[in-house]
């Protein structure tokens, strides 16, 4: 079948423009898929390798103070592979170049050997000298945020005394991929909170912990469930004031990372599947029309004795060519972008290792999905063509029956010129084809919207969180509960305009067999600086009794308003009490529980105790305020809203922008590929008609207007449909991406709609120009002479 292959080759060369556009669509679909899925798989592999190599522990618990012998006892629990006891202390820091006080978490490292668990990766500098109480290794995030290097020093309040600590090294830890202070902040603030590692001997001496520890980590024997071990551990540690052991699911950094990765997975799966699906659908349409145009050649092949199978295979190969080129380009591009993106993520998460995996399964799937759909498209057209008896196929397709369509029946054509009337009739005559064209263009609008959606949603969340909910300038957290008058004392500090107290109590909340460890927040019912707000921005007042849960939390616990929950307080007398759920609030971020502050005080059987306060501050006096706070021993930490806003934006923006950029580019290419092919094919299909009109005396411009006018109407009709589809796609991503920590709202900015519409209109105009150029070059005689 050499001649047939040569035909294949020549057809491919001849239709290279259109096939290239098809290949681009395949490329974008495949590239998106390979990029996103490979990044996800790589990050999973990297995380696993990181956790394993640096011996990230499986269980964690803290105590007030326990003798070292308890650690030996813990080792005997069946299923425990290794135990590392430590001393962990939060201290207030005076960081050079930082106005406000920062918090440092000092973690002890053994002096004589590497830790059995939670080892660190030393990025720069060296380890401290054994026993030195003035040397620390700091976490890289903290060092970078504060421009600290080995050799620099910073001030710390240790046991009431201001001391100078010298930085000897900069390190990473699997335990603090994200450095959460654990004080209810939803995002790490690397300037004001950092991890520091210090000699165990030095810390024992400094904090009166000789032969004792206040934190313990456990590694489990592979395959052992943490549940049983946790129960035994809790039993052992209870009398040492442990609030309860937790596993990696409740370890903030691990949990946040897991959430991030699962969110990435949802976008790694949902977005590419949508893209690939759209690309496949478009290929189906485009190839069906390309093959449909060759129906007379199919008839000739059949007339000369080529069987249906041979003819089918020929067009199959035609489609396969575009698909393979696209898939090869897409796989290459996808792996390149995937590796790049994995590097960026690895940097971003500060993983000391990089593992890039683009499994053959990923590539195979991408090609199967894109290729399968393309080939199906070609096959359905070939089947239609070969089904016709050759004698019939050799004649041009029968003219469609002309009946008056709805526009005509309504008499609207009276108001139209001959041109418009022809355009309208041509659309009405073949509504299915018109609909498929509209759907194709609409899908490209939709994926453009989908590409930008996550950014919009996050901007909305950001706005909601930091403009409507958190209105304070500064949050001050005390070392321990203080009396309500402390809030008034804060008012006396420089620049403080307003202070509103809050109470925060660590609790385990239970309902049926669900349990959640969280901080129960007590706020004044008319709290202004911190508001309780529904996702639709409606403000909610706290009822004077009972607890208000976020919708997420209520779902996790399986409770509704009117149900009761058991609350085990993890400080003080550690009693368990029951609370009635008196309301739910539809917050997007976090799983929180709120109570009116006096109700919470009653629950705690205390008199107006507060854990801290939200402050409204006069910006001009802020430096003075920070200086004062730094030197106030009762203050454990200070969070500045502007700073968390920045860190929020940085956290989100970095991880989102790159993907968003790639996705929008891909969506743009797909949109162009579709619009161009759609216009180009309708020129091929109707070239004869257009030439006839020219022969009848219509000008080039009039003829162009007729063909392109049709495209314009299709595009205009497609845009609103695309908006609807875009919203649906976005809603499905939002549903897939929501986690315990946050829910992504299905919010799309008006600008995103506008941008998608503009991009498709520009793609249409550009294709129109290309098609018009071809239309102007139509050889009238040539077109008309070969056929009746």
């Amino acid at each position: 079948m050499k001649a047939l292959h040569r035909k294949l080759f020549r057809d491919v060369v001849h239709m290279r423009g259109q096939l290239f556009a098809v290949a681009l669509v395949v490329m974008c679909g495949v590239a998106t898929f390979v990029t996103m899925v490979s990044v996800y798989q790589s990050l999973l592999a990297t995380r696993a390798a990181y956790y394993q190599r640096y011996r990230f522990s499986d269980l964690f618990a803290s105590v007030k103070r326990a003798p070292e012998s308890v650690a030996r006892e813990v080792e005997t629990i069946p299923g425990v592979a290794s135990v590392q006891s430590r001393i962990v202390m939060d201290v207030t820091l005076d960081v050079p170049g930082l106005g406000e006080p920062a918090t440092g978490r000092l973690i002890s490292l053994p002096d004589d050997r590497e830790p059995l668990l939670n080892d660190i990766y030393l990025r720069r500098g060296a380890r401290f000298d054994p026993g030195r109480s003035d040397q620390v290794i700091v976490s890289e995030a903290f060092a970078l945020a504060n421009r600290l290097s080995p050799g620099d020093s910073l001030g710390a309040i240790l046991n009431g005394h201001l001391r100078r600590l010298r930085i000897v090294g900069v390190a990473l830890s699997p335990e603090y991929v994200y450095e959460f202070s654990g004080r209810g902040s939803l995002f790490p603030d690397n300037r004001r909170f950092g991890i520091m590692w210090m000699s165990r001997d030095a810390m024992s001496a400094m904090f009166d912990m000789k032969g004792a520890f206040n934190d313990i980590c456990l590694g489990l024997v592979p395959g052992v469930s943490g549940r049983g071990v946790m129960d035994r551990l809790n039993h052992m540690l209870d009398r040492y004031g442990s609030p309860g052991a937790y596993d990696r699911n409740d370890q903030m950094s691990a949990r946040f990372l897991a959430d991030e990765l699962s969110q990435l997975r949802s976008s790694a799966v949902t977005v590419p599947v949508i893209f690939l699906g759209v690309a496949a659908f478009l290929l189906n349409i485009v190839l069906a029309r390309l093959v449909g145009m060759q129906r007379d050649q199919i008839a000739v092949l059949k007339a000369f004795g080529y069987g249906d199978r041979a003819v089918g295979l020929h067009y199959f190969e035609f489609a396969l060519f575009a698909v393979l080129v696209g898939a090869a380009l897409g796989t290459g591009l996808g792996m390149w972008l995937g590796l790049g993106l994995t590097k960026i993520y690895t940097n971003y998460y500060r993983f000391p290792i990089l593992t890039y995996v683009a499994g053959p399964d990923v590539i195979a799937w991408a090609i199967i999905i894109a290729g399968g759909a393309a080939l199906l498209g070609a096959l359905s057209a070939v089947r239609r063509a070969v089904k016709l008896p050759p004698a019939e196929a050799m004649r041009p397709a029968l003219p469609q029956r002309f009946t008056a369509g709805p526009v005509e029946r309504l008499g609207l054509t009276r108001f139209m010129g001959a041109n418009t009337r022809m355009v309208v009739r041509s659309l009405e005559r073949n509504p299915l084809k018109a609909f498929l064209s509209i759907l194709g263009i609409a899908l490209s609008v939709a994926i453009l919207i989908t590409g930008s959606f996550s950014y919009d949603a996050i901007t909305y969340m950001n706005d909601l969180q930091f403009q409507t909910i958190e209105r304070e300038d500064v949050t001050v957290v005390f070392n321990s509960g203080l009396s309500a008058s402390a809030a008034y004392d804060l008012l006396n500090l420089p620049g403080v305009i307003r202070a509103e107290p809050f109470r925060s109590v660590p609790v385990k909340m239970r309902a049926m067999n669900h349990m959640r460890q969280l901080a129960l927040q007590g706020l004044p019912s008319r709290s202004d600086l911190r508001r309780i707000v529904d996702s639709d921005r409606r403000r909610r007042m706290l009822p004077s009794e009972g607890v208000v849960l976020t919708t997420n939390l209520a779902q996790l616990l399986g409770v509704r308003v009117g149900d009761s929950v058991a609350v085990e307080v993890l400080e003080g007398d550690r009693s368990t009490r029951r609370l009635i759920v008196t309301g739910t609030v539809d917050e997007l971020l976090g799983t929180s529980a709120y109570m009116e502050i006096t109700a919470l005080n009653r629950l705690m059987r205390e008199q107006g105790t507060i854990s801290g306060a939200y402050l409204a501050v006069d910006g001009k006096q802020a430096p003075e305020l920070y200086e004062k706070l730094k030197r106030t021993p009762a203050v454990a930490g200070v969070a500045v809203r502007r700073a968390s806003l920045e860190s929020f934006e940085k956290t989100i923006a970095e991880s989102q922008n790159i993907t968003r950029f790639a996705i929008v580019i891909f969506a743009g290419v797909i949109a162009f590929g579709v619009v161009y092919n759609s216009a180009r094919i309708s020129l091929s299909e109707r070239g004869r008609e257009m030439a006839s009109l020219r022969v009848l005396g219509f000008s080039k411009g009039e003829v162009a207007l007729m063909l392109l006018g049709e495209q314009a109407i299709l595009t205009v009709l497609a845009i609103p449909l695309g908006f609807g589809l875009g919203y649906l796609f976005s809603a499905s991503i939002s549903a897939a991406a929501s986690s315990d920590l946050y829910r992504i709202p299905a919010v799309i900015a008006a600008a995103t709609y506008a941008r998608a519409a503009i991009m498709v209109v520009v793609a249409s105009l550009f294709s129109a120009l290309l098609v018009r150029r071809r239309l102007y070059r139509l050889d009238l005689v040539d077109v008309l002479k070969t056929r009746e």
Binding site: K2, K302, F304, Y306, P389, M394, T786
Partner: protein
Amino acid sequence: MDDHARANPANTGAGGGDAVVFRVRNVSKIYTMGEVEVRALNDVSLELYNGELLVLLGASGSGKSTLLNILGGLDLPTSGHVTFRDQDLTAATEQQLTRYRRDAVGFVFQFYNLIPSLTALENVQLVTDVAVKPMPASEALAMVGLTERVGHFPAQLSGGEQQRVAIARAIAKRPDVLLCDEPTGALDFTTGKMVLDVIDRVNRELGTTTAIITHNAAIAAMADRVIRMSSGQVVETRRNEVKSAPEDLSW
């Protein structure tokens, strides 16, 4: 006259064989075009004999193209039977028809229907690639006098040249029958005669049973036998006692 021809198959003259190649019995073909029913063939019966050159004459719409398409296995009748030698074409499966077209039939169409993306030689090879006992493609092109133009694409050839490529393509497989649908319909007088000369030569030299359909009565003079059709029916069958050479035709 009509009956006479059919009753005396031995008398078909020309290149010799007297065996029946095609037997058409009571064939009707009805097309439904939109809401209109068109009766293209109405109870047609006729025979084609081995080696003869038959001209099917008729105005446009007389049903001659439909008949030719049915003979070539490109279309099926609504009722009636067509046999090619011992094979019932009307009962054949799609595969059998494909086989039949591949091995037995050569087509020449009014509009050539060359594949635009293949050169003259490649268009012929398209057929020799799948044929059982083809002649070399270049030999077929030599027979139609196109040795010089084998590397040209259809768009680079004149209408007459394109039609000669189409004839080369049709004969290269050494078909049992050559079916020509208005082969000169799109050509001028001189070019048309040149094409007819090629068909005539193929008929004589290869002994290929040939059917030419045309609306041009002048062409009938080169046939062994002429069947005239009108409104889907055979209205006349006659034998030319003296065949004219194509170059002597005029219209």
